[in-house]
C-alpha cells in the first residue's frame, strides 16, 4: 500500500510514462492480434477455396487443342475447360459440367447438371445471385434471353459465391460453345503435387499464357503479410524501447528530486538493498499498471472491431503473454541502473545537497 502511495504521490511524470507504456503495449498487442487474424483468415480462405486448384489461361489465340495436349502430357485427371467473355452487365463463362468437380459451388436453388443427366442439354445456364434480379428470374426452370438466344436456368448460385479467381455474382455459366472469345480460354485443374510450369514455357511460349498456382500464391501472400507484420512489430517494439527510455529517464530524474526521501529512509535504517528493491518494485508497478490498462484497451478495441466482422477476432492469451513478459523483463532490466544509482546515494550526500537537512 505504501509503495503504491509512493508511486503516485506528486509524480505526475509517472502518468506520462504510463501513457507511453500503454501506447507501446497496445501497439504491440494490436499488431500481433490483428496481423495474426489477417494471416489466419487468408490461409483459411485459401483452404476453403481449394489449395490444389491451378489455372492456366491463354493470353494469345491458338487454333490447336492445346488443352488436350496438356492434359495428356501432364496426366491431369481432374480438370475443366473454361472460356470467358465480358459483356456490358455480366460475364459469360463457357464451361462443361466438370467445373463442378473442380470447384465446390453453393446453390441457392438448382445445381449443375451432369452430362449423364437426362435433362442435360446445351441450352442450360447457371446464373450468379445478382443476375436473378437483372433477368427477373427468381427460380430454376425459368427461361432467360441472352443476346437473342433463350436459355433455361438450372441453378442460381448463393449470394457472394466465388472461387479464387473471380466472384460469381455477375457470372453466367453456359454449357456449350457459345463463348467464342478464345483469348480468354483456359483450364482449371487439380494437381496434388506442385505443377512444373517449365513444360508450359516450352509448349505455349513464355509470354503466351498465365499460370496461377494456388499454394504458390498463398505462400507469396503469406510471406508478404508476415513481412508487413514483422515490420510493424519492430516499429511497435521501437515504441516500447522509447517508453522504457522515458521510464529510465524519469527514474533518474526522480532520484535527485527524491533525495530527501532516500536520505530519511536510510537514516531510519533502510539499507541500499531496500532502496534498490523499492525503485525496482515501483517501476514494475508502473509497468503492471500500464499492462493492465493496455489489456483493457486491447480487449475493448477487439470487441468493437468484432461487431462489424463475420469471422470474429479471437485473442490468444498465451501468444500475447510472451510479449507482455518480454516487455516487463526489458523494462525491469533497464531500470536496474537507475535503481542502483538511487541505492548508492548516502545519507551524507543528501545532507550536503541540503535536501535532507
Amino acid at each position: 500500500m505504501w509503495l503504491i502511495k509512493e508511486v503516485f504521490y506528486q509524480r505526475k511524470r509517472h502518468y506520462l510514462t504510463i501513457t507511453a507504456i500503454c501506447i507501446s503495449i497496445i501497439l504491440v498487442l494490436l499488431v500481433n492480434i490483428i496481423s495474426g487474424y489477417i494471416i489466419d483468415n487468408v490461409n483459411y480462405s485459401f483452404e476453403q477455396l481449394g489449395l490444389n486448384i491451378n489455372c492456366i489461361q491463354l493470353l494469345k489465340n491458338r487454333k490447336d487443342n492445346w488443352i488436350d495436349f496438356i492434359i495428356e502430357d501432364c496426366r491431369i485427371e481432374k480438370y475443366s475447360r473454361y472460356n470467358k467473355k465480358q459483356e456490358r452487365d455480366y460475364k459469360i463463362i463457357g464451361c462443361d459440367s466438370d467445373l463442378s468437380q473442380v470447384f465446390t459451388f453453393e446453390f441457392e436453388s438448382g445445381s449443375f447438371l451432369n452430362k449423364t443427366s437426362n435433362m442435360y442439354n446445351d441450352n442450360q445456364v447457371v446464373i450468379g445471385n445478382k443476375l436473378k434480379h437483372y433477368f427477373n428470374c427468381y427460380q430454376i426452370d425459368e427461361s432467360i434471353n441472352i443476346n437473342g438466344i433463350t436459355f433455361r436456368v438450372v441453378g442460381i448460385l448463393k449470394k457472394e459465391s466465388r472461387n479464387l479467381y473471380e466472384e460469381f455474382d455477375d457470372c453466367i455459366f453456359v454449357f456449350n460453345d457459345y463463348v467464342t472469345d478464345y483469348n480468354h480460354c483456359g483450364l482449371y485443374f487439380v494437381s496434388e503435387s506442385r505443377f512444373d510450369d517449365r513444360y508450359l514455357n516450352e509448349f505455349l511460349g513464355k509470354d503466351n499464357y498465365l499460370f496461377v498456382d494456388q499454394s504458390q500464391t498463398k505462400e507469396s501472400l503469406n510471406s508478404l503479410l508476415k513481412l508487413i507484420r514483422n515490420v510493424l512489430m519492430v516499429l511497435s517494439f521501437v515504441s516500447v524501447g522509447i517508453a522504457i527510455i522515458s521510464l529510465v529517464n524519469n527514474t533518474l530524474n526522480n532520484i535527485y528530486t527524491r533525495m530527501k526521501e532516500i536520505g530519511i529512509k536510510k537514516a531510519l535504517g533502510a539499507s541500499s538493498k531496500d532502496i534498490y528493491i523499492q525503485f525496482i518494485l515501483e517501476n514494475m508497478i508502473i509497468f503492471l499498471i500500464g499492462i493492465l490498462i493496455s489489456l483493457i484497451v486491447v480487449f475493448s478495441v477487439v470487441k468493437v472491431i468484432n461487431i462489424s466482422l463475420k469471422n470474429k477476432i479471437a485473442i490468444d492469451l498465451s501468444d500475447n503473454v510472451k510479449y507482455i513478459v518480454l516487455i516487463l523483463t526489458a523494462g525491469s532490466i533497464c531500470n536496474i541502473y537507475p535503481a542502483k544509482k538511487a541505492s548508492e546515494i548516502t545519507i551524507i550526500e543528501t545532507i550536503k545537497n541540503r535536501e535532507f537537512s
Binding site: 505504501w2 502511495k5 535504517g269 551524507i348 537537512s357
Partner: protein, 214 residues
C-alpha cells in the same frame, strides 16, 4: 558509551581543505543529557553526523559501546545507524505519508517495535495521527519526529537544532519531552546555539574550530 579519540574530519571546498573536526576528543556516558554548543561552522553538525554513523572520519578513532566503528562492515554500520535516532531542525517527515505512517516508517527497516499507543499518549499526538505533515504546526511535527525515534526503541537520540524552527512555547515543550525521555534512560545529545535550551541539559559541551574547548 561513545568515545572519540583525536578525530579528524576534512572537507574539500574547491581546492581548499576545511578541517571540520580537528583532533577532537569526546566521551559520552550512558543516559547522558548533553548539549553541544558553539558558533556556526564550529563542527557541531559534522560531529553529530559522525556519531550517527552517517559520515566517516579521516583520522582518529570512534568507539561505540567499546567497539571501533572505523572497523565496522557495511552491515555493522547499518546496525549503528539503526540504533541511534536522529532529529533534525526541519523535522524530515515524508509529506505523502500520514503522521501514523511516518511514525511506523522506521519499523519497515527494523525489527522490534514499541507500543504505538503508549508513545502517542506520551507525546500527545493522538488527535493528529491521520493528518499529513503539511497540516501540522512545527511543534507537532517535531513531536512526530521524536515518536518516529521512539517506535524502534532507540536508546540514543541525537537532535540537530531540534528547537531551531519552533517558537519559545513549543521549544520548551520539546525540551520537557527530552527531559522525560532522559529520565526513562534514553541518552540525549542536542546540538544547539541557543544557550537557554543548552542550560536545560545536564551537561554542556562547547566547541570551537572543530575541537571541544569546555
Amino acid at each position: 558509551m561513545i568515545r572519540l579519540d583525536k578525530v579528524v574530519k576534512k572537507y574539500l571546498i574547491g581546492s581548499k581543505e576545511l578541517l571540520a573536526l580537528n583532533y577532537l576528543d569526546l566521551k559520552l556516558e550512558e543516559n547522558c543529557f548533553v548539549a553541544i554548543v558553539g558558533v556556526s561552522g564550529c563542527g557541531k553538525s559534522t560531529l553529530l553526523n559522525v556519531i550517527a554513523g552517517y559520515d566517516d572520519i579521516d583520522y582518529g578513532s570512534y568507539y561505540f559501546r567499546d567497539e571501533n566503528v572505523n572497523k565496522f562492515s557495511e552491515e555493522k554500520k547499518l546496525e549503528l545507524i539503526k540504533s541511534i535516532g536522529v532529529i533534525f531542525q526541519d523535522f524530515n517527515l515524508l509529506d505523502y505519508l500520514t503522521v501514523k505512517e511516518n511514525i511506523l516508517l522506521a519499523t519497515r527497516y527494523m525489527k522490534g517495535k514499541n507500543d504505538l499507543q503508549q508513545i502517542i499518549f506520551k507525546l500527545d499526538i493522538a488527535d493528529i495521527l491521520n493528518k499529513y505533515p503539511n497540516q501540522l504546526s512545527g511543534g507537532q511535527k517535531q513531536r512526530v519526529a521524536i515518536a518516529r525515534c521512539l517506535i524502534t526503541n532507540k536508546k540514543i537520540i541525537l537532535a540537530d537544532e531540534p528547537t531551531g524552527s519552533l517558537d519559545n512555547e513549543n521549544a520548551l515543550k520539546i525540551m520537557e519531552i527530552f527531559e522525560k525521555l532522559n529520565n526513562e534512560g534514553i541518552s540525549i545529545v542536542i546540538v544547539t546555539h541557543d544557550i537557554n535550551i543548552a542550560t536545560r541539559c545536564k551537561k554542556i559541551i562547547r566547541m570551537e574550530n572543530g575541537r571541544v574547548v569546555n
